[in-house]
Symmetry: C2
Subunit: 441 residues, 2 copies
Amino acid sequence: MLSISRLNTTDNTFWSQLNTLLAWETVSDGVVIQTVRDIIHDVRLRGDVALVEYTNRFDRRAIQHIEDLRVPDIRLQQSLTTLEKNQRKALEKAAERIRAYHQRQLQDSWHYTEPDGTVLGQQITPLERVGIYVPGGKAAYPSSVLMNALPAKVAGVKEIIMVVPTPDNIMNNMVLAAAAIAGVDRVYSIGGAQAVAALAYGTMTIPKVDKIVGPGNIYVATAKSMVFGTVGIDMIAGPSEILIICDGQTDPDWIAMDLFSQAEHDEQAQSILLSPDAAFLDAVQDSMNNLLAQMPRADIIRTSIQNRGALIQVKDLAEAAEVANFVAPEHLELSVAEPQELVKKIRHAGAIFMGRYTAEALGDYCAGPNHVLPTSRTARFSSPLGVYDFQKRSSIIFCSEEGAHKLGQIATTLAQGEGLTAHARSAEYRVLQGMLEGMDK
Amino acid sequence: MLSISRLNTTDNTFWSQLNTLLAWETVSDGVVIQTVRDIIHDVRLRGDVALVEYTNRFDRRAIQHIEDLRVPDIRLQQSLTTLEKNQRKALEKAAERIRAYHQRQLQDSWHYTEPDGTVLGQQITPLERVGIYVPGGKAAYPSSVLMNALPAKVAGVKEIIMVVPTPDNIMNNMVLAAAAIAGVDRVYSIGGAQAVAALAYGTMTIPKVDKIVGPGNIYVATAKSMVFGTVGIDMIAGPSEILIICDGQTDPDWIAMDLFSQAEHDEQAQSILLSPDAAFLDAVQDSMNNLLAQMPRADIIRTSIQNRGALIQVKDLAEAAEVANFVAPEHLELSVAEPQELVKKIRHAGAIFMGRYTAEALGDYCAGPNHVLPTSRTARFSSPLGVYDFQKRSSIIFCSEEGAHKLGQIATTLAQGEGLTAHARSAEYRVLQGMLEGMDK
């Protein structure tokens, strides 16, 4: 029997119980920090030599030549051609849908001209070179390759470098096939903090990139946060979460399985169900108990559900939306009759899955939107990974003579107020001399 | 006489000299880190009591009651009404232009419907509550209040909380007036790591915010990086920089003063001039020597120019653009005859100032675009502060029955490939049963 927390919003201590349930902070382990700092320092200092040493040590490999770190392009193509037909078709279809959705995120430069001829604008350019970290070993996710590489590709990034550790020299065929489909330019079989350091600072073999994205273990996450500033990084992800709002009319087995689909990711994952219908909460709990035994990852699911899951009874759907906004979940399912009404009340969520037919799992693979989403309540202030993460903006200011004259007067007044004389003088030079004398100053 | 580095791209070691010139890394001082960690911990634990203690100690104040940390709204209005007329007009005009430019950055939600009835989209919502850190004491910049608050306001942020330390209880009138003009909702006279901690975690008096933006000293920057994840933050800014490309036809005094206007910010600021015309580089150097004595901040300018400035002779303007792209400067001036041609070659810069009349200082105050810009070569992967920093996106997925059927088959195939059975099952539930039997699997 699964023991799962049951909360009720009518309880006086509900909000503090909810806070306790949601609490999650990364452990800042001094040993990890020092290890990662040393590895980064070493890779900056000794480059490829250090990279080969760490790879041989941590991934139990026997690399002799630097070139062996590169996965040959032909190997990527082979992965694709040898892939089971059905898998290849699924990957290609998923890529096509992800590409189509992300194309809508492309932003264009714009300019406008003021009456005096001054032009203002925003110039959009892609990042030049991006590194994608893909975990190796057991948790090898081809879908992550697509979700990280395709937005960069759509943005117009010139070169995408993928790194993936291959412990014991075992490569995941589907991961390499996904790289081929996504149009990754080069793949290196390296991982860990050493791969992050190589991408951030460059070695003779690995080119320095402008941004590193993609999930990894605590060493990878720590290394990413340390190289931030030298390169861009994506958000550091916490455990995966789902929050489901159900009116009680969806098949309880469906909802139970949706909760499981988060829980099976790892023991820290969080699955929460909100419903105004107490009997439905009971029914879902029964379904979970019936279905658990069929799950190959039952142990992970059990731990996750028991430690971090909850069934919460709410007064009504409006209150459910309020709780959801407080949680700001990574994945939010609105399994209700009128999701288009309920969604209007939602202000904070990474991705919103509307209606009884939209299983969260569809978004993980192939609906089109990205599956890299803000976790741990960060959807209050951040967004899914997207094309906008691989584009950047430059402001454009092109003053006409008249414009410089007018703006110069304002700038001079404010610069003097801030005690910045060179700023004031630099603006004044461009104020027409004759007019300057008539200025109200 | 100013001694300023002179580089030439024809020099064999030019690129390594340039790298050395640009090198800048924040010092990660163990003492600062520990101090900030302690302050944050203390404010989380003891809230307002700790906040008052630190404020009294660090800002030499004698606060007895928590309420005295709040700057009354009436005080903000008084600042505005007592401000010198010309200054008020300049601030209001600047605010109007900044607002107009940033309104063009507003992003709208979008949706599209696929032939089978599935709806995909991106929902845009503003952040709810934002904290703005404004430095107090000597370096009090009203323009920064406008540049940080107005994009949040335009984005639709409901509540803007400003914190500004007031050492010895001295408030800067122009800063408070700028807060009134920008529509800041509440101002607290607190600063340092304690203010950042209060905004990130909330106290009985200070409300918890979703994001903290604005510049500060090393304690503030360290505190911001430590609370990142709990709240959003803007980029940690390095020293200010300008890179000017000039064809040699602009008045050398103008260019010298533009270089000074960066240099006067602080000793670490970086001012670089590129020109194909060696005689012009000499002329600018002469101008700098002549103008320096007139500058109240001559000592700061001298240190900055001598330690971090450079005059670089390039082959031609195309090569200048190449150097500029390598540097990815915060501010880039194209002081040339045809800036609209040269700008096409620019891929990386925070803000681009085109033509001889566009002094960089105009962008600092009133042209319209933001003056919070990526520094230290981060323009390779990041953007000016903007409305987009105060909006966030949620993906929308609303599958029709037919859509769930089609997508479910792809998702199931990929989930099985990744060994995630609950994902596969959750998708399969929504695949129509009759059709499921005919599936190619």
